[in-house]
Point group: none
Amino acid sequence: MATTNDATERAADVAAADEGPPQKSMTIGAVCKGLAQEFPDISISKIRYLEDQKLLNPRRTAGGYRLYSASDVVRLRTILRLQRDEFLPLRVIRQELASGRAADGEGAVAATVQSVAGKRKRRASVSVADDGAMYPLSDVLEETRAAPELVRELEDYGVIKGELRAGVHYYDETEREIIAAVTELARYGVGGRNLRVFRSSADREAALLQQILAPALRSRNPERRKEALEALENLAAVASHLKHLLLIRDLRKIAG
Amino acid sequence: MATTNDATERAADVAAADEGPPQKSMTIGAVCKGLAQEFPDISISKIRYLEDQKLLNPRRTAGGYRLYSASDVVRLRTILRLQRDEFLPLRVIRQELASGRAADGEGAVAATVQSVAGKRKRRASVSVADDGAMYPLSDVLEETRAAPELVRELEDYGVIKGELRAGVHYYDETEREIIAAVTELARYGVGGRNLRVFRSSADREAALLQQILAPALRSRNPERRKEALEALENLAAVASHLKHLLLIRDLRKIAG
DNA sequence: TGAGAGTCTCAAGCTCAGCTTGAAGGCAAG
DNA sequence: CTTGCCTTCAAGCTGAGCTTGAGACTCTCA
């Protein structure tokens, strides 16, 4: 794993956009550190492996050190995203990149309209297992176009909590999606106080599922525990689907 | 690999015989042979493996032989397609199926290479707009493999109501899916009485959405009413997603 | 009422993708 | 010249996704 520290300083301005045109290459350690927030399971050896597999091809110093340009980093981010969110094998990612079909979501710049265009639309499956990726508040606000006070409201209600690191609020993937969803609801006039309805039912359902799986979850046998966690994931998926169906059923009456 | 031969012929009508409705279940060998065209790397052991991984759950004969119904075969095809064309790992496919996000694309035959892209067929699995299709109880029971008393229980609880036509109970698409979901939950030990939790929260959320869209829904202007219905669909989708996220968030605490 | 094709379970094994680890050493900069 | 980051290369590890027997049972048909 990266054991850098002062290299971090250089890494900090991964996406900084004030420097002149060229030449802000980073060493492998800096790149790794810079991406660690979004991709917690990144590692130096993994980056090297990706190069070995012909997915990257950074410049080198005279002495043989890898030097990553900004676009190299973008490419790497794309690779990691395709791998984590779209479940594509490296062999396929290589082809997608080669055929120019890459297109990073939002990325470092612009980001007008999330588009994603005619790409494959598979959402990152939300799972009980947390991969640990964290996003700074500023990114979340920009991506979701959420009102800052709405985020505060959510924190006040205890719906999200974030994490304070070095003076910056960070949120995980789920929290980011919650913010996006609530923002969407707000556009239709569903205000913050109405969220209690959602929150309390989620709490009650979670308690129900917990009760059912409690014995297995408390088991000391890791095998059994793992099975219980998988069951939990499936139960959550089915339960959510059922809730959706019931809602639809109710709404149908309303709609006429 | 497929080791079938003429037995396949017999297998086709294993359970046909005297029953009225066309319930033609097939043995594993017949299923395998039938899918071999579209999926050359299918095999009997693979189908069994998928069941082991909780992706399939066919009926059994008294002697323990697996019997695949038409919908089992559809499900299997969907699994194989998601695996081959979308590169999804089984763990994710399981979730997609559990949450009803699957939806098979007609597909008939051939379709080799299937050049990615295209195919944006959005087939909204569940919509507020009812297409009116109805299914007789017998079909629903066979497809969902639900216990008949569970269906009665659901009717008693007012979760589904069905329709009585010529002495036969008919259910719409949504009701059928509700039955399937509840059956799935039952497999994990979530009993009928627990459904109150889901039902009441759905009711409350529906009431909330209705309240918000009431003016527009009551409008005499058909244009405005149509917009309101669309908004209702979107709201339902976002609300369901939000509920899912909140549930996940809660479960994460439980999981450790 | 067998004979024989088909199927069952269960445990062990196999292959490949996707990394990780360790050894042995070179580069960069205070 | 020392300290920490970097290099290559070979070997090893882990989990997903099956496959392969072994031994026993089931189903259909002559």
